[in-house]
C-alpha cells in the first residue's frame, strides 16, 4: 500500500535491464548466456546469501573476500601438496571457516565491538594467512575437479546449468527458506530491529550473533571451494574486494543496510543485476570492464536513495489509530 517493496523494484530493474540488453543484443536472451551468467556469479551468489543474514541482523562482514582467497589456497595446497583427498580438504576448510566466523561473532558479542572493526581485522587475518600458505597461484589438477567442472545439466536452447550454478541455486533457496520460515530467521530480523529489545524479548543475542557470523563465513568457505572449481587454482590474491561486491548486491537487492529488513531472493536478484551488467559489457566488446564498477556504483546510489526515501515515508506520523478518532 505504501509504494512497492524494494525487492519488487529490484526485480523490475532486472527485467527491464535484461529486456534492454536483449533488444540491443538479441543473443543475450538465450539459456546459454543465462547459464553462463549463473556459473560466473555462483560464488558471489553463495557468499551474498550469507551476507544477507549478517546485514539484516544489523551487522556487516568484511572478511568474506579474504576467506574465499584463503580457502582457494588451502584447498589447492591440501590436495596438490599435502595429498589430502579433495572431500577431506573440503570438510577441513569448511570447519575452519565456520570456526573463524564463530570466533568473530563471539568477539563482537562478548566485547561489544562494532562488527565493522572485528570483521575488518578478520579480513586482514584471513588474507595474511593465505599469503603465509603460498604467495603464488597453485594449479589444481585433481581429477575430481575436471569431473565436477564438466558436469552440467542441459537446458533447452543449448544452455548448460553447471554444477557450481546448481550449488549456488540450492544455497540461495535454502537460505531463503531458513530466513523466512524458521525461528532462526525471525531472530535475525529481530536482532536487526534492535539488539537490546530482542534481548529483552528473550532472544539469545550472543548465540545468535555467533551463529550468524558462522553462517556467513561457512558460506564464504563454500564460495571459496566453488571459486576454486571455477578457476581450477588456488591463489591468495583471489577474490580481493569481493566483500564490497557482495555488500553492493545485498543492498541493491533491497536489504536495509541498517538491518531489520531484506530478503535472500532480493540479494539473488542483486547478484544477477551485477552479472547482467558484466555480460552486457562483454557483448559490447568496446567498453572497459571497469564500466561494471561504475554501473554498480550508480545503481547502489539509486537504491540507497530509494531506501532512504522509503524509510522517511515509514517514519511519517500515522493517522491510523485505535477505532474511531475522537
Amino acid at each position: 500500500m505504501r509504494g512497492l517493496p524494494p525487492v519488487l523494484i529490484t526485480a523490475i530493474v532486472l527485467v527491464a535491464g535484461f529486456a534492454l540488453c536483449a533488444v540491443q543484443f538479441p543473443n543475450i536472451a538465450s539459456t546459454r548466456v543465462v547459464g553462463n551468467l549463473l556459473t560466473d556469479n555462483a560464488f558471489l551468489g553463495i557468499v551474498a546469501t550469507g551476507m544477507t543474514f549478517v546485514i539484516i541482523s544489523g551487522g556487516i562482514d568484511l572478511s568474506v573476500g579474504s576467506v574465499i582467497g584463503f580457502t582457494t589456497v588451502f584447498v589447492a595446497l591440501a590436495i596438490e601438496r599435502w595429498g589430502m583427498p579433495p572431500l577431506v580438504a573440503f570438510v577441513a576448510i569448511l570447519a575452519l571457516s565456520a570456526a573463524f566466523g564463530a570466533a568473530m561473532g563471539a568477539v563482537i558479542h562478548v566485547f561489544d565491538l562494532p562488527p565493522f572493526i572485528v570483521t575488518l581485522a578478520g579480513m586482514f587475518l584471513a588474507r595474511g594467512a593465505g599469503f603465509l600458505l603460498s604467495t603464488e597461484s597453485v594449479p589444481i589438477t585433481a581429477p575430481v575437479y575436471s569431473t565436477v567442472s564438466d558436469f552440467a545439466l542441459r537446458m533447452p536452447g543449448g544452455g548448460r546449468l553447471t554444477s557450481v550454478a546448481i550449488i549456488m541455486l540450492v544455497i540461495v533457496i535454502g537460505g531463503a527458506l531458513l530466513l523466512q520460515l524458521t525461528r532462526f530467521g525471525a531472530n535475525v530480523y529481530a536482532l536487526g530491529g534492535s539488539r537490546a529489545t530482542a534481548g529483552l524479548m528473550g532472544v539469545a543475542v550472543g548465540k545468535m550473533t555467533i551463529k550468524i557470523y558462522m553462517l556467513s563465513s561457512l558460506l564464504a568457505g563454500i564460495a571459496g571451494i566453488v571459486f576454486s572449481f571455477y578457476t581450477s587454482a588456488g591463489y591468495s590474491l583471489s577474490a580481493v574486494g569481493v566483500e564490497l561486491d557482495t555488500i553492493a548486491a545485498v543492498v541493491i537487492g533491497g536489504t536495509l543496510l541498517t538491518g531489520g529488513q531484506g530478503s535472500v531472493i532480493g540479494t539473488f536478484l542483486g547478484v544477477l543485476i551485477q552479472g547482467l551488467i558484466q555480460t552486457y559489457i562483454n557483448f559490447d566488446g568496446t567498453l572497459s570492464s571497469w564500466w561494471t564498477k561504475i554501473a554498480t556504483g550508480v545503481l547502489l546510489f539509486a537504491f540507497i536513495a530509494l531506501q532512504q526515501g522509503l524509510v522517511a515515508l515509514a517514519r511519517r506520523p500515522r493517522t491510523k489509530s485505535l477505532g474511531a478518532a475522537t
Partner: protein, 510 residues
C-alpha cells in the same frame, strides 16, 4: 477491597548509585486484582524502584516477594519468568517484525523446525481479540499507532503468564479515546486477578483508574492511600512534600513595586500538542517562577521561550520589537540563555576544563572567525570563578570532577559570560546539596538585582516562593494561573495545581 491477598510485596528496598541514595527502605504492596498508582516527582525513585523489582538494577537491601515467594531476578527475562512484566512508555517491541512475530518471538508454534505461520497468526488474532483489537497481524508492528503497539506489548506480557503488570507512563503518547480503551483493558485484566502498577503523572487518570496510590519522594516512601479517600490537594502535598503550615516564610521583601521595563514578551505563544498558547511578560530585574507538577509543561515552556523548540503560533518580542525564535541560535542572538535540567547530558562537557566550559557559549556567539585569545579566556574564567565562588578555584580542572553545585555554577557562568538579558534556569537546584541550594538562590537574587531577567523552573515550591516576583502555575501543558506580589505563596500555588480542571479552564480563559 474484597480481594486483599498481597501479590507483590516489596520491603525495605534500598539502592545507591555511588554517593546518591536513590531508594531508602522503600516498601510497596500490590494486591491481586488491583490497579495501584505509583506516583512521585522527577527523581523520586519511581523508575529506580521498577528497575530494582524487574531485576535491571541489583538492590542493596530489602526483598521482593511474589505470591509469598521471594524472588531475586537478575534480568528482565528472569523477572518475566517470575511473573512480572513491564511495558515502558517507549514500546519495547520490534517495529520491523509483524504483530504476530512480536507476540510470539522466540516461542513461535513449530513443526519440523519450521514456524507454523498460519497457526501463529491465528493465535495472535485470538489473543488480540481478547483485548478488543481486530487488526491484520501479518502487517509490521511499526505500521500501527502507538496505542496498538502498547496493547500488543501488554498482550504479549499477559500471555507470558504475567501476574504483575507494570505500566510505566503508558498513556503519555495516547489520545483521550485511546486512553479509554487502554483503561478498559486494564480493568478487564484486574478482574482476572492480575495486579497492575500504573505509573503516570496525569493525576486525572490516576483518580479515574487506580484503587490505591503509593507516593515516593526523594527515594523514600511517603505513604500509601486508598484513592477514593485521598483528596487531590493532599496528594499533591504528599508528592511535593509541603505542609501548608510552613508557608511564606523566608520570602524576600522583593515587592518594591517599581515599574520595570519589559525585557521580553510572548503573546499567544505556543505549539500544538506541546504547550497551549500562553501570554508571558518577562521584565528586567524580575524573577518569574514556573511551578507545576512533572509533565505539566514547565520545561516545554522554557524550551519555547529559548527557541529550542519552534512555536507554531504567537509572537515573541524582545525589548518591544517583534523577533523570530526558530532555533537556539536565535535565542542566543537575542541575548537569551538556557541552563537545562539535565546538566550531565545537555549542559556541561565533563571532560573539558572549567575555563573551556565557561567560554563555550561566548565563543559560539562570537563565531569561529573571532576566537577568544587564551588571555581573554583566562580572564573571563577567573572572573566568574571568583564571582560565583566556584570551588576548587582552579579553572583548569575538568568540570566532571566538580560537585553538582559547582557544575551548576559553571553552567551559570557560561551563560553570564555572554551577558544575556534573559536567563532560563530549569531546576537549578536539582541534585545539589542543601548548602549549595541557598547559595544558588542567593545568586539568582543578585543576578536579578543587576537587571537580568530570569525565568526559573523548580519543583521546590519553597524556593520558588523565596525568589520569585511572579509565579506562573502550569497544569496539563497549559498556563493556568499567574500569581504576583502577596499572592505568591505555597498554599496558593498548591491550590492552583490541584484546582479542578473545569474551573481552571474557565479562569484561564477569562
Amino acid at each position: 477491597m474484597q480481594n486483599s491477598a498481597s501479590l507483590l510485596e516489596v520491603r525495605g528496598i534500598s539502592k545507591s548509585f555511588g554517593a546518591v541514595r536513590a531508594l531508602q527502605e522503600v516498601d510497596f504492596t500490590l494486591r491481586a486484582g488491583e490497579i495501584h498508582a505509583l506516583l512521585g516527582e522527577n527523581g523520586a525513585g519511581k523508575s529506580t524502584l521498577i528497575k530494582v523489582i524487574t531485576g535491571v538494577f541489583p538492590r542493596d537491601a530489602g526483598f521482593v516477594r511474589i505470591g509469598g515467594e521471594e524472588i531475586a531476578p537478575r534480568s528482565a527475562k528472569a523477572a518475566v519468568a517470575a511473573g512480572i512484566a513491564t511495558v515502558y512508555q517507549e514500546v519495547n517491541l520490534l517495529p520491523n517484525l509483524s504483530v504476530a512475530q512480536n507476540l510470539f518471538l522466540d516461542r513461535q508454534p513449530m513443526r519440523f523446525g519450521i514456524v507454523r505461520e498460519g497457526e501463529m497468526r491465528r493465535r495472535a488474532k485470538a489473543l488480540l481479540a481478547d483485548f478488543g483489537l481486530d487488526i491484520d497481524v501479518a502487517a509490521p508492528l511499526g505500521s500501527y499507532s502507538v496505542a496498538i503497539q502498547h496493547v500488543t506489548a501488554i498482550a504479549r506480557a499477559v500471555d507470558l503468564s504475567a501476574r504483575v503488570l507494570i505500566l510505566d507512563e503508558p498513556t503519555a503518547s495516547l489520545d483521550r479515546h485511546e486512553v479509554e480503551i487502554l483503561f478498559g483493558i486494564m480493568r478487564q485484566l484486574a478482574k482476572r486477578g492480575i495486579g497492575i502498577v500504573f505509573v503516570s503523572h496525569f493525576l486525572d487518570q490516576v483518580y479515574e483508574i487506580s484503587d490505591r496510590i503509593t507516593v515516593l519522594r526523594n527515594g523514600r516512601l511517603v505513604g500509601e492511600r486508598e484513592t477514593a479517600s485521598l483528596a487531590r490537594l493532599e496528594l499533591i502535598r504528599m508528592m511535593l512534600g509541603r505542609e501548608l503550615a510552613e508557608t511564606t516564610s523566608a520570602r524576600a521583601a522583593a515587592s518594591e513595586h517599581e515599574v520595570r521595563e519589559v525585557c521580553a514578551s510572548f503573546e499567544n505563544f505556543g505549539k500544538a500538542g506541546y504547550v497551549a498558547p500562553f501570554n508571558l511578560e518577562l521584565r528586567h530585574g524580575e524573577v518569574v517562577g514556573l511551578a507545576g507538577l512533572l509533565g505539566s509543561g514547565r520545561t516545554e515552556t522554557a524550551r519555547l521561550v529559548f527557541g529550542a523548540e519552534r512555536a507554531d503560533r504567537g509572537q515573541a518580542r524582545v525589548e518591544g520589537a517583534p523577533v523570530r525564535l526558530q532555533s537556539p541560535r536565535d535565542g542566543v542572538r537575542h541575548g537569551f540563555g538556557y541552563c537545562p535540567e539535565e546538566r550531565k547530558t545537555d549542559g556541561i562537557v565533563a571532560e573539558l576544563t572549567v575555563r573551556e566550559n565557561i567560554v563555550l557559549a561566548l565563543q559560539a556567539k562570537r563565531g569561529l572567525l573571532r576566537p577568544l585569545s587564551r588571555r581573554e579566556q583566562d580572564e573571563i574564567a577567573r572572573r566568574y570563578v571568583k564571582m560565583l565562588d566556584i570551588r576548587p578555584a582552579d579553572p583548569e580542572r575538568p568540570v566532571g570532577l566538580l560537585s553538582g553545585g559547582n557544575q551548576q555554577k559553571v553552567l551559570l557562568a557560561r551563560w553570564l559570560a555572554t551577558s544575556p538579558r534573559l536567563l532560563v534556569l530549569d531546576e537549578p537546584t536539582r541534585g545539589i546539596d542543601v548548602g549549595a541550594h541557598a547559595e544558588i538562590i542567593r545568586l539568582i537574587r543578585e543576578l536579578c538585582d543587576d537587571g537580568l531577567s530570569l525565568l526559573v523552573i523548580s519543583s521546590e515550591l519553597d524556593e520558588i516562593v523565596t525568589y520569585s516576583d511572579r509565579v506562573v502555575v502550569l497544569r496539563d501543558r497549559a498556563h493556568v494561573e499567574e500569581l504576583a506580589g502577596e499572592a505568591v505563596d505555597v498554599g496558593n500555588i498548591l491550590a492552583a495545581i490541584a484546582a479542578d480542571s473545569v474551573t481552571v479552564a474557565l479562569e484561564a480563559h477569562t
